[in-house]
């Protein structure tokens, strides 16, 4: 029973580690995406930079995924 609770908590922690940064990334991307869409409409030559700008907040969710993956490796310890 204790082991089951422990594994459940580890899984829950991993889920939070990925879920919160994913929400944060989505929020940031929505703001940046909308702003860049406006900018590209005015100056189409910014399209390339727009793609990079939108990709910038993805760092959060990527680090979240790394942390989540590391948490799941705690199972065996």
């Amino acid at each position: 029973m204790e082991e089951a609770v422990r594994i459940g908590l580890i899984a829950f922690s991993a889920a939070i580690a990925i879920c919160v940064p994913a929400l944060a990334t989505a929020w940031a991307q929505s703001r940046i995406g909308a702003a860049m869409a406006g900018a590209v409409a005015e100056r189409p030559e910014l399209a390339g930079s727009a793609i990079i700008m939108v990709a910038i907040p993805e760092t959060m969710v990527i680090l979240g995924l790394v942390i989540a993956f590391m948490i799941t490796t705690l199972k065996g310890t």
């Binding site: 793609i51 990079i52 990709a55 910038i56 990527i62 995924l65």
Partner: protein, 663 residues
């Protein structure tokens, strides 16, 4: 690498100024400097901005007028530009070009009047027919709705009718009209309506002819559209008018087709000449518009600009041959910081690296005198791509697709470059696929699961690491490896920053970049103990000292910004963990495709379904693999690495030349 440029000043007698401009435009190597600002700042007013004389201004205006006319004519004739070869257009261009502007203008005017003579009549007839067709198409649905309403009053000579068109959302106004017209006509009226389409409603007001004037006056005050038929149809009974409209609508397309056939001959005969004329006009106007960028004194003109060092001699020779001693070329020494900043930049890279210059579609060229980092991008961009995707099967497909795009679109620079970059990325994907033993996910791993090579690795916990590296199992190892690759990538950026500082003789810049590099090395040494437990303690101590020393150095060189940058550098290294994170997402999706297909396996139907599912999911994964890793690889360059040293150029080298038109 950045092309070595020379700054030149061309000075000559004003009599030959326009001929000199023509010669320079023919050579097409000089990037002209706009001297107007410098002249304004001069104390001495002996040198002034070159002004366009009255005659040239007239020519300029005439050429601009001709440009509009030729452009309109090309649009009217609608030639298939793709059919013409550049060579043929160039031949026509040379036939039209004359150095004497007056002669050039008269040739183009002659060409235009010749084309107009043959095309103006059919073009006008076609435009009339098209307009009539549009008008009849507008009437047809209205008349169709009104016709049955009119038939109700057709028998009575006492009754008159007026047709109206009302927006459907204002349909309620019909009740008001009915009421008001009823009052005007003492109840001898009726309003009938039928919807024409989603937006409009046709209505017919029927009333006693006695009140015709009053009803017209009333309707004129209301905001409603009365349907007015073409004058030749207005007096006909609606039935006859309807038949007439249908007959005309059927006839017009054939008429337009006939005129188009007539015009096709003229299009074939004149299109290429017109396109060449448009190009000639464009280049001539460019030459005239360049004049105000030059300087002049009473006797001489001054042209200043840059060109690649190796082209200086040929320009000198051409000017000498054409103008003798009346025009002189002098090379100016560019050593001052301001001059370096103003120098336009062009790149000259080896073929392999040249395709990776596509990155400059997202950013400016590097500043003149600094290091061109395209080679760093050419090495690391496809490597990062391969490291993330890492699958033999995917790599083969991406490489083939990239190469096909590269070959097929040789005339479209962007797709051509991206295709090349993808094919190199595909090759790296195969290399990493072998290291990970991945072929469409875990297919090979399942087949050879017992096969492993154990290699010694710097005395890690087990003193060995296994090949192939199964990414999901070896996550921690890959995480460390990716961060070390990131450390290397950022360090290269900082070393380029130091080289830039040395080239620009900027000591503070050198100290800042060296300090940031030192602090970065220090952090890596300090935390290496956590990964390689056997490392002696003195490595950690030196690392910490180096980190602090580096931070101080960065502060001395770059102020508070330098200190922050040296700390942020550690965060930048962590950003490279995306190399394994995105790779993991890709491999897990590939494995899901294989597992789902495996569950279906069994029997002919099961095998077909399994293959279908595997094909769809792997195709989707390959498409995602083409986009996401490219974007993240790009970002690692633009933000993490290039951000450490990149200084953008102010100007791109754009030589003054005959462009061959506006494209």
């Amino acid at each position: 690498m950045i092309e070595k440029m020379a700054k030149v000043e061309i000075i000559g007698l004003k009599d030959v100024s326009m001929d000199t401009v023509d010669a320079i435009q023919d050579l097409g190597t000089l990037h002209i400097e706009d001297l107007s600002e410098k002249i304004e700042r001069m104390r001495s007013k002996r040198v002034t901005r070159m002004e366009v004389d009255k005659k040239s201004a007239e020519y300029d205006a005439k050429l601009k007028e001709l440009r509009v006319k030729v452009g309109d004519m090309i649009r009217e004739l609608q030639p298939d530009v793709g059919e013409f070869s550049k060579k043929d257009i160039q031949r026509e261009y040379e036939a039209i070009w004359r150095d004497d502007v007056a002669l050039l203008i008269s040739r183009i005017e002659r060409l235009l009047s010749e084309v107009e003579r043959e095309t103006i009549d059919p073009l006008e007839r076609r435009a009339d027919l098209a307009m009539e067709l549009a008008r009849l198409q507008k009437y047809a649905p209205m008349m169709q709705k009104i016709q049955p309403l009119v038939e109700r009053v057709a028998g009575s000579a006492e009754m008159a009718s007026i047709a109206l068109i009302i927006e459907r959302k204002y349909k309620a106004i019909l009740n008001y009209l009915n009421e008001e017209i009823g009052k005007i006509t003492d109840g001898e009226s009726e309003v009938a309506a039928a919807d024409v389409d989603d937006e409009s409603t046709a209505a017919l007001v029927i009333f006693n002819r006695r009140y015709l004037k009053q009803v017209h006056e009333f309707l004129a005050l209301q905001d409603v559209n009365q349907v007015r038929l073409p004058s030749d149809l207005a007096k006909k009974p609606i039935d006859d008018a309807m038949d007439e409209v249908r007959a005309r609508m059927a006839k017009i397309p054939a008429g337009i087709g006939k005129i188009d056939r007539e015009l096709r001959e003229a299009t074939e005969k004149y299109s290429m000449k017109l396109i060449a004329a448009r190009n000639v006009i464009h280049d001539r106007i460019e030459a005239m518009e360049a004049l105000p960028k030059f300087g002049q004194t009473e006797q001489v003109f001054i042209i200043s600009g840059w060109l690649p060092e190796e082209d200086v001699k040929s320009m000198e020779r051409v000017l000498k041959e054409k103008f003798g001693d009346t025009v002189l070329l002098a090379v100016v020494d560019i050593r001052e910081e301001k001059e370096l900043e103003e120098t336009p930049v062009t790149l000259r890279n080896k073929p392999f690296v040249r395709y990776f210059e596509a990155i400059y579609m997202l950013m400016k060229y590097p500043k003149y005198g600094t290091v061109d980092p395209t080679f760093v991008f050419a090495i690391f961009f496809p490597m990062f791509f391969g490291l993330m995707v890492g699958d033999i099967g995917y790599g083969i497909i991406i490489m083939i697709l990239g190469w096909l795009a590269h070959r097929k679109f040789s005339d479209k620079p962007l797709i051509n470059m991206i295709g090349y970059m993808l094919s190199v990325g595909g090759a790296w994907t195969i290399v990493f696929g072998v290291i990970y033993l991945e072929f469409f996910g875990d297919l090979l791993e399942k087949a050879f699961h017992a096969w492993h090579i154990h290699l010694p690795l710097l005395g890690t916990e087990t003193s060995t690491f296994k090949l192939p590296i199964i990414r999901i199992d070896a996550f921690e190892f890959m995480l460390v490896a990716c961060c070390l690759i990131g450390f290397l990538h950022i360090s290269i950026g900082l070393i380029i920053g130091i080289v830039n500082g040395v080239r620009e003789k900027d000591k503070k810049h050198i100290i800042e970049k060296a300090g940031t590099l030192g602090s970065l090395v220090g952090i890596v040494m300090a935390i290496s103990k956590m990964i390689f437990g056997w490392m002696p303690m003195w490595v950690v101590i030196i690392g910490v000292l180096l980190f602090i020393g580096g931070m101080v150095g960065a502060g001395i060189g770059g102020g508070m910004g330098g200190v922050v940058e040296s700390i942020v550098g550690a965060g930048n290294i962590l950003s490279y963990s995306r190399l394994i994170a995105i790779g993991l997402a890709s491999v897990i999706m590939a494995e899901v495709a294989n597992d789902l297909a495996g569950e279906m396996w069994g029997g002919v139907f099961g095998i077909l379904m399994g293959l279908l599912i595997a094909t769809i999911l792997h195709s989707l994964n390959i498409v995602i693999a083409c986009f996401s890793p490219s974007i993240h690889s790009l970002r690692l360059h633009l933000v993490e690495s290039f951000g450490k040293f990149f200084e953008p150029a102010k100007y791109k080298y754009e030589p003054f030349k005959k462009t061959g038109g506006e494209g």
